[in-house]
C-alpha cells in the first residue's frame, strides 16, 4: 500500500509503526553496487575459507585454511625464537644465569609461568605457602636456600618417588611410645623456651635433657636445625606447621612427613633451572 506522503512529497514504503510511516528515499546507485560487491565477496569467502558448521565438522573451504594450524605455526615460531635462550640456560650453571641480566630475566619470566602452572596449588600463587607447605619468600629453608639446594629440591623432591629424593624422618614420639605424655609436655616447654615464647621455666629445664637425648641428633645443639638433614631451626620465628604450644605438642607426638613430588620426569631440565632461579629470586634465597 504505497502512497505519497503529503508533507514531504516522498513515496512511503507502506510500513507503518504507531502511525509513523517510513519514507521511500532513493539510495545512490554506487551504494547498491557496493552492496552487490559485498555479496560477491561473501560468496567468494564462503568458497575459499571455512564458513559453515556441519553436524560432524564444518565446510573446509578450498584454501584449506585453519586457525589451529596458524596457532601451531605461531607457537613453533615463538619456541624457535626462545630456543637460543633455552640453549644458553641449558648449558650455563645456575650462578652464571643469575649473574647475566638477560638470562636472568628470561629465567625469571619462564620460572614464574612454570611456578603458576605446577607449584602454585601447594605453595600459593605468590609462593607465600600454607600450613605444611613452606613459604618460599622468607629466609628460612629446611633443605637450604642456595640456588643449588633449591634446584635439587625441585628436581628430586622430598620423600618423593625419586631414587635421589631428599628424605628424613620426624619420629612420632608419642604415638610410637618413645616418650610419655609428661616428657612430651616438658620438651614442648623447652622448644617454646628456645624460640623465645612464654613457657613454664621448670618444665623447660626438665625438657632440655629429653631434647638432648632425643632431638639434638637432627635439630642440633640448642635446636638450631640442620639443613643437611632437612631439620628445621626451632629457635626462629618461622614455623611450617605452627609454633604455638598445642601444635608443637602435636608435632612431637605424631611426627611430620610432608611430601614434595619430584619434577624430574614432568618438567624439562631448562624449566627446572628456570624455576630454581625464580624461587631464589623471590627474596629469601641464600
Amino acid at each position: 500500500m504505497n502512497r505519497t506522503d503529503d508533507v514531504t512529497g516522498f513515496q512511503t514504503t507502506g510500513h507503518e509503526w504507531d502511525g509513523i510511516e517510513e519514507l521511500n528515499r532513493p539510495l545512490p546507485r554506487w551504494w547498491l553496487m557496493v552492496w552487490y560487491a559485498c555479496i560477491l565477496w561473501a560468496l567468494v569467502y564462503f568458497v575459499l575459507y571455512p564458513a559453515w558448521p556441519l553436524v560432524g565438522g564444518y565446510t573446509k573451504g578450498v584454501l584449506g585454511y585453519s586457525q589451529r594450524q596458524t596457532v601451531a605455526a605461531d607457537l613453533a615460531k615463538a619456541q624457535e625464537a626462545q630456543s637460543q635462550w633455552r640453549q644458553q640456560i641449558a648449558s650455563a650453571d645456575l650462578t652464571t644465569i643469575e649473574k647475566t641480566p638477560e638470562l636472568f630475566q628470561f629465567a625469571v619470566a619462564g620460572g614464574k609461568a612454570a611456578f603458576g602452572d605446577n607449584c602454585a596449588p601447594c605453595h600459593g600463587t605468590g609462593a607465600q605457602g600454607f600450613t605444611g607447605y613452606p613459604n618460599l619468600n622468607d629466609d628460612d629453608w629446611l633443605w637450604g636456600g642456595s640456588l643449588d639446594a633449591i634446584h635439587t629440591t625441585i628436581r628430586y623432591g622430598i620423600r618423593s618417588t625419586s631414587d635421589n629424593t631428599r628424605l628424613n624422618d620426624m619420629m612420632a614420639f608419642g604415638r610410637d611410645q618413645i616418650l610419655n605424655r609428661d616428657q612430651i609436655n616438658d620438651v614442648t616447654e623447652y622448644v617454646l623456651d628456645i624460640s623465645h615464647q612464654d613457657h613454664d621455666a621448670a618444665a623447660a629445664e626438665r625438657g632440655k635433657q629429653i631434647f638432648t637425648d632425643n632431638c639434638v641428633a637432627c635439630h642440633g645443639e640448642g635446636g638450631v636445625g640442620n639443613q643437611e638433614l632437612g631439620a628445621p631451626n626451632l629457635t626462629d620465628a618461622i614455623w611450617l606447621y605452627g609454633g604455638d604450644r598445642n601444635t608443637i605438642r602435636q608435632t612431637v607426638t605424631n611426627g611430620r612427613k610432608g611430601v614434595m613430588p619430584t619434577w624430574e620426569h614432568r618438567l624439562d631440565p631448562v624449566t627446572i633451572k628456570q624455576l630454581a632461579v625464580y624461587v631464589h629470586s623471590l627474596g629469601g634465597g641464600q
Partner: protein, 501 residues
Amino acid sequence: MNDMADTGTITETGTVVERADVEAVNAKATRETLYAERVKIHPKLVHGHWRRIKWAVMGVTLAIYYLTPWIRWDRGPNLPDQAVLIDFANTRFFFFFLEIWPQEFYFVTGLLVLAALVLFLMTALAGRVWCGYMCPQTVWTDLMIMIERLVEGDRGRRIVLDKLPMSGSKLAKRVIKHALWLLVALLTGGAWVFYFGDAPTLMVDLVTGQAPIVAYTTIGVLTATTYLLGGLAREQVCTYMCPWPRIQGAMLDDESLMVSYRGWRGEPRSHYRKGESWDNRGDCIDCKQCVVVCPMGIDIRDGAQLECINCALCIDACNDVMTKINRPGNLIAYDSFQGLSAAAKGENHRFRPLRPRTLIYAGLIAVVGLIMLTALLMRTELDVNVLRDRNPLFVRLSDGGVRNGYTLRILNKEHDSMHVVLTLDGLEGGQLVLQGHDSGTVEVPVDDLQSLRAFVVLSPEATRKAMAAGEDVLDFAIVAHDTQSDRTSRNSTTFRLPEGR
C-alpha cells in the same frame, strides 16, 4: 563568462541577476526510484563574507597540517629534534614541551574527550559548522573543487565541458585536473607520515627509496583515499557515509543557529521584473543562486535538511543578489528555529548562546581542561612508580622481622642519564634492599625506564613494637634523588605487618 545564462532579471540599478536552470539533488522529481544515479554537482564560485572565512580556515588548517612536522624543537642527543612526533618504536609522543609516555596516555584520552566536548558545544551553538569549515573532508573537497575550477573554469564552463564530446582539449583538461588532484592527494599522504619520523631525514629517505615499506604503504593508502573521497566522492561522503549528520540531531535545539532561509520574508517567491512593486510578494526572486553555489547541491529554501553542512555559501550568494536588487541582506542567514518562528509572528528574538545545554558543555570542558592542566603541572622529569607486592602482602623472617616487596619503576624523561639514590623516609627500623644492586644507587639511561625489585625489611624490634601497638599498616615513603640533576621524588606507600598478636 556565463555560458549558461538564460533569461536574467534586470534590476533597477541596471545590473543583471542571472537565472540558473538547476534542480536540487533531492528534488521531488527524482524521488520515485529506489536507487538514484548520482547527480553531479558543480558548485559555483561565490564571493563574500563567509567564503572569505572559509578560505582563511582552509589556509590555516592546511598550513597546520602540512607544516607542523617541520617545526624543530631541541630534544638533546639521540632523539629527532621534532616538535610534534609520534614515536611508535619507543612508544613516545612528543608535543612541543610535552613528552608523553605510555604511562601518561591519559593525556591523549583527555585531549580526545576535550575535542568531543568542543564539537558538542560547537554543534549546540551553530549546528554543523565543524562540517562546513573545518572537517578534513570539507577542506580537501573545497581544495579539489578549487583546482577543478582553475583547470576547467567555473560552474557554467564545467557543465558545458561535461556535455561536449571527448576531444583533445577536453582530455587535456581532464588529465591535468586528475593529475593535480593526485598530486594534492600524494602530498596529503606524504605529510601524514612525517608525523611518525624525523621529517627531513624521512623526506630524503622517501625520495631515495630508503624509507620503510610502511611509510610508502601509508602514503599510498592516504593518496588513494584523499583522491577518492575529496576529489570524486565529495558530498556523497557527508550525505551517505558520515554518521555525524545523524548524531548531530541530538545536539541541536530550537536555539541552535543554522543556515536558514527566512521564508517569512522571502515568500511568496517569484521572478521580479524591473520596476515592479515589492508589495504583496516576498524578497526571493527565485534566481536559485543559493542552489548553484551549494557544495551539497541542495535548496536551502526547502528548510533544514540533513545534507546541509552549514557552510553559509548560500548566504553569500543570496546577499550578493539582495544587494543587486536593492533589498536588505540576510534573506538566508544563521538563524534559529526560535528566531524564525518569532520573526514570522513579527516578534523580536535574540539569539541565546547561554542555555543549560551549552553551559553544561562549557562547564565540562572547563573541568576536563583543569584536570589536564593540573596533571600537566604536577608532572615530573623523574618519575617513580611504586607497586606494592600483593601476594604475599608481607613475609615473616626467621629473626622475627617482616619484609615487604615492591616493584619500582624509575622513568627518566631527561636528556641525561640519571644516578638515582633510593632511601626510606618515615620508617623507623626499616632497611631498603635493591635486588641486583649492592649500593642504593641505580643508573637510569636517558629517556628510559628502569624496573627493579626492592625489599623493605623491618627489624625484629621495630616489628614487635609496631605489633604491640596494634598496627598492621605503616605509612612511609621511598625517596628517589637524582644526584645528576638534583631532582627528588617522594613516593608514599605502605608497609604491611601481620595482623593481631
